[in-house]
Symmetry: C2
Subunit: 279 residues, 2 copies
């Protein structure tokens, strides 16, 4: 009794994504990390112009000091233990303060490449959809699992953004594609199964690159991605204020930015405390 | 079976407060707001030198976008609806990442001047004491209520920091004292009933003061406070980087800083988003 309604919900969400891309001249950002789950900073991000937000479970592990984790890499190891009800509540809180316009895609246990059997039930997806989420930010690494997610998400009106990785990635955040040709193939297949936005993992979180630069191979892989699909495209992994400029002419429409924002915000907090103590 | 243990717990906490005051040359800060409940920013504050932290319920209302509140004044109106279990969890998360040294005092529903009958049970105080809290940050406005809190808090090994206000305060955050003489009297009586730290509400959150200055009357009230008690003293309300310098020679040992830190951190988030979108 809500199939039509949910298709409409999803179309409305995608319209807001396209509008954000257009408003920002063809390339916008998906603001995550500390701006994805803390309502005070989600509001600040939106005040700064962000139109797309992403609360997710590893960031929530950091926010809540879960088991004492203080780095994203450590958080990734126990992210699946984060309660989806807490993620839904955080999402609702962000939605409460940013209003209905910003697009919110949410990362949850079961939606990433898992190391233990983490299931996602209908009720859990429904919980996200009724707590302000527009979409699911996923990092599945094979089509069987991804198709299941797409079906569940679409049933409850949620979009799916899914990612393409590389077989040599140290940490798996997407379906592997070795060459630019394979990137294009995987992207097309993702689009054909209904993925609403397709991203490329840059791998730059783990590999050093000259300041302000992105590797030529990433540019080639991005070109393969953007030229092979009609849905919005994303780039994720190690994007910061220096190298983000290098994405300008790649055609990719959304840069996922998290850790880089966290660093700036944490430094600001640290420095203001120092200043108070210097008085 | 734990009275002696809990007295020891409380003494240990106060020793850490005195140590912080000493390390910072006689005046330190109690870092609250966004650095009180978000583990990422509590860690940043401690990395910046903060030794005293304060998670509290109105800040948590803002953190979680509770009912869409985005200003501290709005948060004060519904702070009593925040679940103490959520505050305990946030406190535990902060403790997990900052370790055992920082002193953590916690604001909870029932501990402030309430507009509806909010009770604090033994189990709730115990919850705080078992989730990393060293103390209770209170804002009771009469001695009857404050004495009850002190008894409960001490039973579970928690210190109490309590505050002195002014009868004309727009918002009540302490026991009213009109003149400096009355400030001294109230402070002495607070000390005699076992309050572990005594603060003065400056009223500066609500009244405009020239940049970098604090009113002469606040200096006189602070002098009355610091010269009449042996316990550590605090000043709270509208303290920022500009006017904090004016507290230097007042003898007050702890400046409570929240909104001013939030503003800096939120501006940092807003500005970094703007920079990404300018690329």
């Amino acid at each position: 009794m809500f199939i039509g309604d949910m298709n409409k919900k999803r179309k409305n969400a995608m319209a807001r994504v396209w509008q954000a891309i257009e408003e920002h001249g063809g390339q916008t950002i998906l603001s995550t990390g500390i701006t994805g789950d803390d309502a005070r900073l989600a509001k600040a991000a939106v005040d700064g112009g962000a139109k797309l937000l992403e609360p997710n479970h590893p960031a929530l592990a950091l926010a809540r000091g879960y088991k004492g984790v203080t780095s994203m890499h450590d958080a990734e190891n126990l992210r699946h233990e984060i309660d989806i009800a807490d993620i839904a509540k955080a999402t609702q809180g962000v939605r409460n303060v940013v209003g209905s316009e910003p697009f919110i895609t949410v990362g949850v246990p079961g939606g990433f490449t898992e190391l233990v059997p983490v299931e996602l039930s209908d009720n859990e997806i429904k919980l996200l959809a009724t707590h302000g989420a527009d979409g699911m930010h996923t990092h599945k690494s094979n089509f069987t699992d991804l198709e299941e997610i797409v079906e569940l998400a679409h049933k409850y009106g949620l979009t799916v953004d899914a990612y393409i990785g590389h077989p040599d990635d140290l940490h798996t955040f997407g379906i592997p594609a070795e060459t630019p040709e394979e990137v294009a193939e995987v992207a097309k297949r993702m689009e054909s199964i209904g993925v609403d936005m397709i991203g490329l993992m840059t791998g730059m979180s783990y590999e050093g690159v000259a300041a302000g630069e992105i590797p030529q191979i990433i540019k080639e892989r991005l070109h393969a991605l953007v030229s092979s699909v009609q849905v919005p495209t994303l780039a994720e992994g190690g994007i910061n204020l220096e190298n983000s400029k290098a994405f300008k002419n790649t055609g990719v429409q959304i840069l996922v930015v998290g850790t880089s924002i966290d660093n700036v915000v944490q430094d600001a907090a640290k420095n203001v405390i120092k200043q108070f103590l210097e008085v």
